[in-house]
């Protein structure tokens, strides 16, 4: 029979173990919330009713609006278009857009351009560069003054994966030959999408990436990063910031030139090793943006997929895939 002393010792042992486990928890640092359940009381809205001196509209409290490297994340409600327009319009900028319309994708060009004319950078000079292997099928679209449309012929590739991985090279080459002289900022967009709401100068930055709509509020472990270490786009477990979408990226034309070159190099490295990344160039883009953080991040408002059910965080969809 177990004696009382032994029983007592074992009970003490158990209590101590349980106590240590509870206090230490899972080992992560606990940041105790500094506010009580009514955050409005402490919320610094900087509004003074007597003087109406400093007024700021409320921030978005439901989403992250600044990355840990202090790059803004652009959500509806975080910015004032008037202030931004008054800062950017006088600079007389030209914004470039690249889009690839290969094979059957030429049918999306008309819709893309019409919606862009309604919503994309209104009031700014815009150059659309449509890369296509089929220039005759590109429709003629009426553009507003100050906006141009240029067809960039490219050669046919056998498969869509091949086309996808050649995009970086094509954009890079085109910047070097043409667009670096013509535009200040460049956005590289997918063609099978439409603009639904305003896309303005809040998106301008040195290096701009957009968060993929399907992965913005899921745990990082579920991000479809390339995981095979043999690929140069591989991101190990536990690493990564966000999952960026390959359908929208951009920035200052010089910066876009630099990172498309780097991405193209890593894509070629994989090709030489006989491996194709899980999500083709999107995987390489994610790997690149992990070690060269974007200076501005666009919320999924700027890269939406209509087939994804709209969560409460998405207030306004600006650019979306349409079937």
């Amino acid at each position: 029979m177990i004696s009382r002393k032994v029983l007592g010792s074992l009970v003490c042992l158990f209590v101590v173990t349980a106590f240590i486990w509870i206090t230490v928890g899972n080992g992560k640092v606990h940041y105790l919330p500094y506010y009580l359940p009514c955050p409005e009381i402490f919320s610094m809205k900087l509004q003074y009713t007597e003087e109406k001196l400093i007024q700021l509209f409320p921030q978005r409290q439901d989403v992250l609006t600044v990355t840990p490297w202090l790059a803004p994340i652009i959500w509806e409600g975080t910015f004032n278009s008037e202030i931004l327009d008054s800062a950017y319009r006088p600079l007389n900028l030209t914004i470039g857009v690249t889009a690839f319309a290969i094979g059957k994708y030429t049918r999306f060009v008309g819709r893309f351009l019409e919606s862009a004319e309604k919503h994309f950078m209104k009031g700014y000079q815009v150059n659309y560069y449509i890369f296509t292997d089929n220039p005759e099928t590109i429709p003629d679209v009426q553009l507003q003054p100050g906006r141009r449309f240029v067809i960039v012929p490219i050669k046919k590739y056998p498969s869509w994966q091949e086309i996808s991985v050649r995009r970086m090279e094509a954009i890079n080459k085109h910047i070097a030959e043409v667009s670096h002289r013509e535009v200040d900022y460049l956005f590289c967009l997918d063609i099978d999408m439409v603009f639904c709401n305003a896309w303005g100068p809040e998106t301008l930055g040195d290096i701009v990436a957009a968060i993929h709509p399907s992965y913005f509020n899921v745990p990082r472990s579920q991000f479809p990063y390339e995981r095979r270490s043999s690929s140069s786009a591989s991101i190990p477990d536990g690493e990564g910031d966000f999952y960026y979408g390959g359908a929208v990226f951009g920035g200052r034309v010089k910066k876009v030139y630099e990172f498309t070159k780097t991405c193209h190099m890593t894509i070629l490295t994989d090709k030489a090793n006989g491996i194709m990344a899980a999500r083709q160039e999107e995987s390489h883009l994610n790997r690149h943006f992990l070690s060269h953080k974007p200076s501005k991040v666009l919320s999924p408002e700027y890269l939406w997929d209509d087939s994804v059910p709209k969560p409460p965080e998405i207030h306004l969809i600006r650019f979306s895939i349409v079937d």
Partner: protein, 327 residues
């Protein structure tokens, strides 16, 4: 009864379990901040965004982004390791400009020793100390990467004049000297001390610090100049934040433009026989209204010691050390 084998076994088992728990859950948070430093790219790969929900806001109690998309720097909004890696890659040098005239020389020691320790620690900082009493400065121990330049300057009878002439002196020295020596330049009042690290999160093109008076009931102290005769006048109803003149800066080019514009306003006011309510601070606020800063520092970065600290101020990095009520 004495210690039996069973007692010894129980102690051993307890020690073993405690050791196992300690090993897997260290009490320090060091494992969390572990970073993978890739030598080729040099930017940290490990992030500190929430694992299960990366879009969770880190601070919900304060504004962290202005309407013109300038980040407002608060504790827990940034990862200094990532920022350090980005800063180091660009091989930048930052300068600090400060003035110690007349009785303000008493603050030099406290300021320099704390700034040397906490201001951009690990990076090269050039301290430019303007004083009317260079001989009185005792030897100051500087970190190996920092430099101290003592520059003699004439004193003025009134402290407001010193305060206002700072703008002129800074712009002239940027043109003649600083632009060749530093990339970023910050003007900091001498009568402050640093108690926590102020790092590269402050580095941006044009940076203003939100005044700690904004958080108190002392409306008087944080008002803009409203008399339209002054160049620093801000129309009623306008204004984003009230910025403090104790800590501002940015790239050398932007600070030059700022100091020139402010000094022009000061001179014009003097000609018209008017002095702005809060002197150079009023002019600074006028400038920041129409030339929005690209980054704002929260009042953590320049806390007025006599004010009671609200909960939103989690850290006091730099505090005034004024004993009397006047500046």
């Amino acid at each position: 009864m004495g210690i039996t084998k069973l007692h010894g076994l129980a102690i051993l088992v307890t020690a073993g379990i405690t050791g196992a728990i300690w090993y897997h859950h260290p009490f320090s948070s060091a494992s969390d901040q572990e970073s993978t430093f890739s030598s080729e790219e040099g930017i940290l790969l490990k992030t500190d965004l929430n694992e299960t929900s990366p879009m969770l806001p880190r601070r919900q109690d304060v504004l962290v982004l202005t309407p013109w998309l300038a980040p407002i720097v608060w504790e827990d909004t940034f990862n200094r390791d990532i920022l350090n890696a980005q800063y180091t890659q660009k091989n930048l040098v930052t300068g600090v400009v400060t003035f110690a005239v007349k009785k303000y020389v008493q603050f030099i020691e406290g300021f320099m020793s704390s700034a040397n320790k906490y201001f951009l620690a690990g990076h090269q900082v050039n301290f430019y100390l303007f004083t009317d009493n260079p001989e009185q400065i005792s030897h100051l121990q500087m970190a190996p990467e920092n430099h101290l330049f003592v520059i003699p300057v004439r004193n003025y009878s009134q402290w407001q004049d010193i305060s206002m002439s700072r703008m002129d002196i800074i712009s002239r020295y940027i043109q003649s000297q600083f632009q060749y020596e530093v990339d970023y330049l910050y003007s900091i009042d001498i009568d402050v001390q640093l108690f926590e690290h102020i790092g590269v999160e402050i580095i941006d093109a044009l940076v203003g610090t939100i005044s700690s008076w904004q958080y108190t009931a002392h409306r008087e102290s944080k008002s803009y100049e409203t008399r339209t005769e002054s160049q620093a006048a801000i129309p009623k109803g306008e204004g984003d934040f009230y910025y403090t003149a104790s800590f501002y800066g940015g790239s050398v080019a932007e600070v030059y433009k700022l100091t020139r514009a402010c000094f022009k306003g000061i001179v014009k006011d003097r000609e018209n026989g008017i002095e702005a309510r809060w002197h150079d601070e009023s002019h600074l606020n006028k400038y920041f209204l129409y030339h929005k800063p690209t980054r704002l520092l929260s009042p953590e970065y320049c806390w007025e010691e006599e004010l009671s600290r609200p909960r939103t101020i989690q850290v006091k990095r730099m505090c005034s050390v004024r004993k009397d009520g006047k500046k």
